[in-house]
Symmetry: C2
Subunit: 672 residues, 2 copies
């Protein structure tokens, strides 16, 4: 009887997936039908969650890394009792429904992360499991395990083929994230057909090589075996667990099961009818028999689990009131900064402006970290094996050892992994992650930066060596298009500060930002201080501001980062020739473009001929200089040579800038 | 005696690396000093090459995947007798030297690929080994093995941590590339220090899981053991080989060996003196004792090997003259197209223009492939598990099985791997690779696309589903910034064709391009034919052209891809209101910007108010519309819904475009 009911519970998932995909005539029925038994086992018998409160901080996290199987997750959420009525399932993949084509966090209650770009879900999950471990170590006290949950992942062959799975799972093994359990949907099929022609890995051996506990060769449709495997997985004391489940994609469909055809299109009415018959599923589309619905509801059990935790938490709050308050702050969304962090930021800015030091902005960034690091327990820094170059550490930082303690992570040479893990940390809550690599290698992490933005996650990317100023390492390592191409990602704020003050403000803005990522593009080389004693601090935050005013201005120089000092020097040369030039610093084009038109026009007046200078792609600057303006930039690859020589070679000298400014003045005065 | 000489030969590499890094005061001495014995063993005793002809088609390929150790390669090339005089080594990392910071192909004779971005060298090597296998299978005849060489790779922990190594090495194992041999520099050190805290993989087990033959636990300073391992590796009949070499980074340096400090900075004069003493190396900086120099020269042996091959090839050319001519064509740089390929391209264009079909440009691309595929033996297509979506195959294509036969590669879900392998195939020669994925996931491959451009490789990327027109899969899969951000990479030609004719021309231009990559951004959805019967074919190749002229034009609409039809429809609406609008199609902004100013001004006259329309980032269009113009685009993420609804939602309708055009006319007429 129980077995029959369990099968029907799994079939409810299959039916909803078939029906919703059919209604949309778009979507992926194969995976939900194949993983339905695994899902039934996990969600009905093991998952710790409360459908009434998807934000409960001690819930288990469930990540659908093979996100194209979104209907599985929507069916699970609906049946378990989340705020996802059947009407939403009927509107699968329709505009503004709560059931988009791939799961999206903040759109659907109970969705923990946005997945679809393969490999990123499992990497997010590694970040979540890391955050759980660190938060537990920091906040739990003997007898008061207020942070004690697991991270469960479904993934398929696609995730396992992606390189990102290597980066993330290698780290999970090294860190010994034992509360991370992944279920591999080993169905032997990917979009192009049977995977054996292009995916010959011995995946269990691969994961053992990462230090995972591997449970091999399960029948993914045998719920008793799955129950036993999950019990075994829960007992893992020191290693993450991979449960290898042989399944049939599209299980239940007489003609499509086991084929690539089941993967990504509706089965069609005829095949659905045949499948219903084969499964013994007699309910109408989108209807769930009462006994199955009752069996699925997790509301009562969820309330119980949640109440037990609340009682434990209440005792904790009594015994450790300060800790409880801090835990509350740390798990709020967005997380408010501590007053002492705000104070440290203010001091860092004032200090930078007062000192007027010539300093590389990567070093200025480290100076900010030196102030805020000790004051800000939620900071979780790191670098993709370039700590001493990115300067993401600070005196007193604690390198992550294992995964129980630490606030600076050595991610190894894994830029994409770092970014996707940081997304997972941010999604979990409790920490403000930041991580560094060379700006050029933001390319490797690019889609995870995009996902930070799509998910509105406050992740900070510290991208150093931001131009040909990197020097001798040459064109493979010299960013050209990177600042601009990061600006193009919607919702990413790219800061390219000109000196220590702008760097400190950029950090403040990044930490104040609760709803999206910030990239700091920082120099290897020292830059002169650009300011005049503090009046500009508020202006910097607006993304662009007038750094140097002049009477009877005849032209406007606009620059970012290392080229601001150059623009100031060129303005001096021009001044010596009797030509007054305004200099605008634009540390954040994104923020500047959010200002109202009158501010923008005040800063960059149309009446002045305009020359932009940035040691990178020119394309985005034409919006600000107009077609009568000019841009000094680089639309070619760099060269290997000392930085000073490269700046000369490519025309980034005060003299060359002044000359271009003069010719621009001549061009514009001779034009109608 | 021999042993002493071999040690001194290895020490010559160490000395040159130390001295050159010291002279530059920049660079990486640790790896060359650590891998010197492996390099001596491979290069002096096993590598098949001829320093007098670095382009000999049957040479072994050597790839320094850990490219920061470039001085090792320069020392090897110099000592072996390549055109790389000692003066170039003295100018290591200086402007316009032949010894840039990281190895660059086409800059230094004997450098096979540009490395530095970690993981890409090994992936290039997989591509080279694949190309060798395929070329051998196609051209060798019994008794005439004119293609018979190996690919050797040096790589370090950094490459092995990168996800890309997973993608590429998994495929190498699946394909059974037995002539690929990689040496792992297992020195336990990366930039952040001892790797054990962030790199806990059992790497030999991992590679066995990929199906590699693994030779474990070698002492990388024991040349006899290395010789034996290489002999064993050469005997591998069906699997690629990983030789695991325990080494000491900076070997020979009394105070730096075995530490991260040895990795990336000059040792300093004092430590160099101590190292010279420890190694028993008495020669002055950049001086090589005569016996060591003589022992290193590979010119005589290279000439012998090359002559033997030439004799074999001469007999081959006699027995198989047609094959020999074709092999000659296929290994030329750039590779000329066959007349029948040119004819097929011409027919494809004429056919598209004659048929005037409404068709998705991804389908139009497949129609082109259908014509050129059977005519063009050098084509090596593929897809990252989206063959049926990217439509990269054609009737009669042969899927790669193992690696001996095939002209279409199932790369699996490995976008970065696909791109980096295609770079390796192009570097090897013999094939014109192209590969597909969804445009959004160009992000995953981005740095390899950049490397295609930096290396000037004629690789064609087929990026389909190029906008919100992708529809229901939602924002994770909908490109927004991708067309523009690919345009920003120097040397990449991005084509976003408006119809079948433009698609066919784009393919022709991509195949005519011998010195760089092209990206084709293609639609999922059908597009109406935009043309008027063939007059525009030459114009299309210029990247931008007037598609619709009108008398008394009052404004200019500029669009690309799916928005060209929209612009034409809007122009019709405007025409009905008595307003004549020119329509410019801009399938390739990069090509258009290479045209001279007068052509550009003829196509997009400054006198007309201009409105650009592209369903993606707006930023790059301001250069062409001017600040009095307007852009209809998307600077936000998309939504999951049917494509038609999304185009409506975001204002991509003839009516909305016409309205914006009208308001633009009003704005400009009311401005001074």
């Amino acid at each position: 009887m129980n077995a029959v009911l369990r099968t029907q519970c799994a079939n409810a998932l299959r039916a909803l997936a078939m029906d919703a995909v059919q209604a949309a005539n778009s979507g992926h029925p194969g995976m939900p039908m194949g993983m339905a038994d695994i899902a039934e086992t996990l969600w009905r018998h093991h998952l710790k969650h409360d459908p009434a409160d998807p934000q409960w901080i001690d819930r288990d996290r469930f990540v659908l890394s093979n996100g194209h199987g979104s209907m599985l997750l929507y069916a699970l959420l609906h049946l378990s009792g989340y705020e996802l009525p059947i009407d939403e399932l009927k509107r699968f993949r329709q505009l503004h429904s709560k059931t988009p084509g791939h799961p999206e966090v903040d759109v659907t209650p109970g969705v923990e992360t946005t997945t679809g770009p393969l490999g990123q879900g499992i990497a997010n999950a590694v970040g979540m499991a890391l955050a759980e471990k660190l938060l537990a170590a920091e906040f739990n006290r003997p007898g008061f395990e207020v942070v004690d949950h697991r991270t469960w992942v479904f993934l398929g062959d696609g995730c396992l083929m992606e390189g990102l799975s290597h980066e993330a799972c290698s780290l999970a093994g090294t860190w010994g994230l034992n509360k991370l359990v992944a279920f591999w949907d080993d169905n032997g099929i990917s979009i192009d057909g049977e995977v054996k022609g292009w995916f010959g890995d011995d995946t269990p051996a691969r994961f053992e090589a990462y230090g995972w506990r591997v449970i091999r060769g399960l029948n993914g449709h045998d719920v008793a075996a799955l129950d036993a495997a999950i019990a075994e997985a829960k007992a893992s004391a020191d290693r993450p667990v991979l449960v290898c489940c042989r399944t049939r994609i599209g299980h239940g469909s007489p003609n499509r099961a086991g084929t690539a055809k089941a993967h990504g299109e509706a089965l069609g009415h005829e095949e659905i009818a045949l499948t219903r018959a084969a499964l013994g599923w007699t309910a109408a589309p989108f209807e769930i028999p009462a006994d199955v619905a009752a069996a699925w509801s997790a509301r009562a059990q969820g309330a119980e689990l949640h109440a037990a935790w609340q009682a434990r938490h209440a005792r904790y709050a009594e015994a450790h009131p300060q800790l409880a308050r801090e835990l509350q702050r740390r798990t709020q969304r967005p997380m408010p900064l501590l007053p002492r962090t705000e104070a440290a930021l203010t001091e860092a800015i004032a200090d930078a402006e007062a000192k007027r030091a010539s300093v590389a902005t990567r070093k200025a960034s480290q100076d900010v970290l030196q102030r805020i690091g000790p004051a800000t327990p939620e900071l979780l820094g790191g670098s993709a094996d370039l700590t001493g170059s990115n300067l993401t550490d600070w005196k007193g930082h604690v390198p992550l050892k294992g995964c129980d303690v630490g606030n600076h992570v050595h991610y190894g040479v894994r830029e994409f992994g770092m970014a996707a893990i940081m997304n997972g940390v941010a999604l979990h809550g409790g920490f403000r992650p930041f991580g560094g690599t060379f700006l050029t290698f933001s390319d490797y992490a690019r889609n995870a930066v995009r996902m930070s933005a799509l998910m509105k996650l406050p992740v900070t990317y510290v991208f150093t060596h931001d131009s040909i100023g990197l020097g001798e390492d040459g064109p493979t390592h010299q960013p050209i298009e990177h600042v601009s191409s990061l600006r193009l990602i919607p919702g990413v704020d790219v800061w390219r500060p000109a000196d220590a003050t702008e760097t400190a403000v950029a950090w403040r803005e990044a930490l104040h930002r609760g709803d999206g990522p910030s990239c700091l593009a920082l120099t290897r080389q020292a830059l002169p201080h650009a300011g005049d004693g503090g009046h500009r601090v508020d202006a910097i935050a607006r993304g662009g501001y007038v750094l140097r005013h002049a009477a009877d201005e005849r032209l406007c120089l606009i620059a970012s980062g290392s080229e601001v000092g150059l623009a100031l020097a060129a303005a001096e040369l021009l001044s010596a020739q009797g030509i007054a030039a305004r200099v605008v610093s634009m540390p954040c084009m994104d923020a500047f473009e959010r200002q109202d038109a009158s501010y923008r026009r005040d800063v960059i007046p149309r009446r002045l001929p305009r020359l932009a200078i940035e040691a990178g792609s020119t394309g985005l600057w034409w919006k600000h200089v107009g077609e009568d303006g000019a841009v000094i930039g680089l639309d070619r690859f760099g060269e290997s040579a000392p930085a000073g020589e490269l700046f000369k070679l490519f025309g980034f000298t005060p003299k060359a800038v002044a000359e271009r400014a003069l010719s621009l003045l001549q061009e514009t005065s001779s034009c109608p």
